[in-house]
């Protein structure tokens, strides 16, 4: 396996680096995105700084820091119950919807703390989209209405909704399969189509970041490939963070990986993070090596 060449970034991310650095986040001087993918100028950086999380009195995350740069697909890997999903839900303030949930630390979206009292959670969630493990389209709504739902329910002005719906469905790789039946109920789609519909729905509100919580765990291989193609296609302007239990998927789609682990008296934390090639090819921690080679978890 090859370790990617590391070189100082000179392109678009520089601005964000200074922006975030002003908030005290030390950021790696590494180009993580693949050479063929240049992050677009308005791509966004998401940074977690010393994040801790609790459900009631149970601590589930312990001091997690992770930089998720623009144009980079970040995969969160680790055994079940190690806090990956909690970490993901904490990034777009879905965590606080669980009664008794609390946290410490900061989550910076282009340098601005999303937990700042002045930041509305609805605004944060609109900028950081989410795709869930189980496809959850609104089953009684039509395919069209599902994609339009985010814009309609948040009362955003859109000049041409038809356009947005088509563009979002195309980006999610679903357009050709549903263009002839946009008004039929979403509940009638197959599981894989439903999941891509959920991706289209999330993309329609034009988020800068897309969080994906095991998006393919309920899908067949063909649908999985489609979702992975979508990830590759949108990664240049949507920062992507994906939780996956599938090591091959992590290796295929991600540019950097973070390995989470809980146990030995310590709640979920990051054992090791770095470029995907490095994590899979030359892990520093023996537990990472064991996990990525399927020896436990």
């Amino acid at each position: 396996m090859s370790i990617p060449i590391t070189e100082p970034t000179t392109e678009p991310t520089t601005e964000h680096v200074t922006g975030s650095a002003a908030h005290g986040a030390p950021l790696p001087d590494v180009q993580l995105h693949p050479a063929h993918r240049t992050p677009s100028l308005d791509a966004t950086r998401l940074t977690a700084e010393s994040v801790h999380a609790w459900f009631g009195s149970t601590k589930v995350l312990d001091d997690v820091s992770l930089d998720m740069p623009p144009g980079v697909v970040t995969a969160l890997i680790g055994p079940s119950g190690c806090g990956k999903s909690t970490f993901l839900r904490l990034l777009n303030r879905m965590h606080e919807l669980v009664p008794g949930a609390s946290l410490a630390g900061r989550v910076l979206l282009d340098g601005v703390d999303v937990y700042d009292p002045g930041t509305a959670p609805t605004e944060t969630r609109a900028r950081i989209g989410m795709v869930f493990q189980k496809p959850n389209p609104f089953p009684a709504m039509s395919i069209y209405d599902n994609v339009a739902s985010g814009l309609r329910l948040t009362r955003r002005k859109t000049r041409d909704l038809d356009d947005v719906v088509e563009r979002s469905l195309r980006r999610a790789g679903l357009w050709s399969e549903v263009e002839a039946r946009l008004s039929s109920a979403a509940g009638a789609l197959s599981g894989g189509q439903q999941q891509r519909l959920c991706i289209a729905r999330a993309l329609a509100v034009e988020p800068s970041v897309l969080l994906m919580d095991e998006p393919c765990s309920a899908l067949d291989p063909t649908s999985t490939r489609r979702v992975e193609e979508t990830i590759e296609a949108i990664a240049h302007d949507v920062t992507i963070v994906i939780v996956t239990h599938n090591m091959q998927q992590a290796a295929r789609v991600s540019d950097q990986c973070a390995f989470f682990l809980a146990g030995d008296g310590r709640p979920g934390h990051i054992v090791e993070s770095g470029p995907t090639d490095q994590l899979f090819g030359a892990p520093r921690d023996p537990r990472t090596a064991d996990y990525v080679h399927g020896r436990f978890g």
């Binding site: 009664p99 329910l153 948040t154 509940g187």
Partner: protein, 330 residues
Amino acid sequence: MSALTVAVPAEPPRRDITAVLPRADRRLALGLRGAALTSVSVLGLIGLFLLIKAWPALHRAGWGFLTERRWLPDVGRFGIASVLEGTIVIASIALVVALPVAVAVALFISEAAPPRLRSALISVVDLMAAVPSIVYGLWGFFFLQPRLITVSRWIAVHVGGAVPFLSVHDPSTASSFTSSAFIVGVTLSLMVLPIATSVMRQVFAQTPQAEREAAYALGCTRWAMIRGVVLPFGRSGIVGGAMLGLGRALGESISVFIIVSPVFTYTTHPLQSGSNTIAALIVERASESSTFGVAALLAAGLVLFAFTLVVNTVAGIIVARSRSGAATEI
């Protein structure tokens, strides 16, 4: 294509699939079937009883029973036109007043109330359902009525000019407003409220968490999430709650009897004193009627019975068609 034909092997004969039920299952099936049949036959027997007992009256009145407004069975002039209309008007008023409140309370309980307040509110609403209707009737008569007259008068004076059916004959005297369909309807709404709320909150609470989260993750406010997810999902609960409430309002007798001043004309001006319902008519006349009078009252009861059945059947169809009613979780 080529003319080649391929010999299709004959399909094998299909086998019958039979299963011998274990004895315990057979007993269970028998017992359950018996229980189900009992409730259906009770319903049928009630209808049959009403029909037989009411037959002499129905036979004499003919179709005129449905069109005659007056109730003078001893001279052969009796019908349910006015009381049926009054029943519908009063029940509608009760629903119009109770439903928005019920939806709001149910949403507050299932979506917004902090856990402790939630369980307290649930108990209070359930207690409201347990209060005997005569208590509501007395309270409506002695407490609500004097206060509602002020409301009635305001509506009659300020809206009645533009909307004729909201006007009254002489708005200057309070007696124009007492014992009106409106006051009865508002009193009934207090009885409709707890039933409707209870059904609605239970259905709202079943809204799939995954869909709520989908809405929140799109940046929805709580209200947008309710509009987009909870209300569409809970439609069957709203209809079901409304219909159960309507059933209660249609059948309620004693509190209507206490408040209303019975008249046998159409209730065209609900704010104006005087109206009547089938149930109140039966209560009012039951003790003083002749044998034939009783038959006439039972005929009225039969109409109310049939009307309620129709309302509930229609509601059942609407509920079954909707998603939460059909329980088609996806």
